[in-house]
Point group: C2
Chain length 170, copies 2
DNA sequence: GCCATATTGTGAGTATACTGTCAATTAATT
DNA sequence: AATTAATTGACAGTATACTCACAATATGGC
């Protein structure tokens, strides 16, 4: 062993690290989504928010952030942009003056309906290079890993059922 | 009006989408890295840049961005922060007045050496919830997928070998 | 009823991650 | 050699994604 550097660092320290691979796949996933959905002027996060408001009409921002595992502060900006595009509206909650409830507009429901095929296409393209069996394996492992690591993230996912017990009716 | 019957949207449109899972894992990966490495004041991206400058002393910003698949504009800010922390230095290239070459400082080499165990710990924690065999499977599939989807990302990875032909010596 | 505590939305601040554009400089073409 | 191309680093702008902090409001303990 020739004695020169303290630690022989190679690029493998980057390329084989799971964190690096997750970052790359996130980059690729966003790029494919934007490419397929460019006609709709919606980002992946805005799409997720829109879906959730569609399935949970009248949800508030804090609960929305928990349902899609999204930071509350960041979500404020996302909501603002969706409101500017007139895809959603904010209405003050009658029983709690702090809360603003979120609803889809007709335009929001329409764009959500129309964008679906493009979203599906983008999602399919992400896994397309793999063999079908490998796609299933990867999705299964990823789903497990995200679930088992849920508490490790700064903004853990709190699914809909759990939310009902966290609210005012707890 | 093409659609009289709107598609019944469920949260599965979000939760089972590969793009959503990749975003969650990226969130989790960053959170674990920051947690394990908080003593070193380095982000995952800054770490990757530092490793690459260590293995490629005198690399310039454009080439660095290609080697870690990182946007050139974003990288400018990353480099600036690493310079402020005095982990790297920028030196003007003698043969090309546009180029600034990047080198580790002693403090940079030191922090890179010291942070390694914490980085390894963070990387291990990301996959820890899976069985060892599943970890290998996931890593293998992820590596394949990132490689096969390389051109889909906005900033494709251009590995070191390819770079030598893109440079001045082509 | 009152006070400590918690929640909600919001704001500032930092750090990716991308799109453009731009001037300075270098390389390629004629 | 002179015009054109391409490259480099920098800047502005947008959008996540997180931190901490704050005022307004609501809740629970007493």
């Amino acid at each position: 062993m020739p004695n020169s550097k303290p630690t022989p660092v190679t690029m493998d320290a980057v390329y084989t690290a799971p964190g690096y691979l997750f970052r790359r796949m996130q980059q690729i996933a966003v790029a494919l989504f934007i490419e397929e959905c460019k006609a709709f002027d919606l980002t992946p996060v805005q799409y997720a928010a829109l879906v959730t408001i569609s399935t949970h009409p009248g949800i508030d921002a804090t609960r929305l952030s928990a349902v899609i595992a999204f930071d509350r502060s960041t979500l404020g900006n996302v909501i603002e942009r969706l409101e500017t595009k007139e895809f959603i509206v904010r209405k003050p909650a009658p029983e709690d003056k702090r809360v603003k409830l979120l609803y889809l507009t007709k335009a929001g429901a329409s764009v959500l309906n129309d964008i679906m095929p493009s979203v599906d296409k983008a999602q399919a393209r992400m896994l397309q290079p793999l063999k079908p069996a490998d796609r299933k394996t990867l999705l299964s492992l990823l789903t497990q890993l995200v679930d088992l690591n849920n508490e490790a993230s700064r903004v853990p996912l709190r699914a809909e059922d759990a939310l009902e017990h966290l609210g005012r009716s707890g």
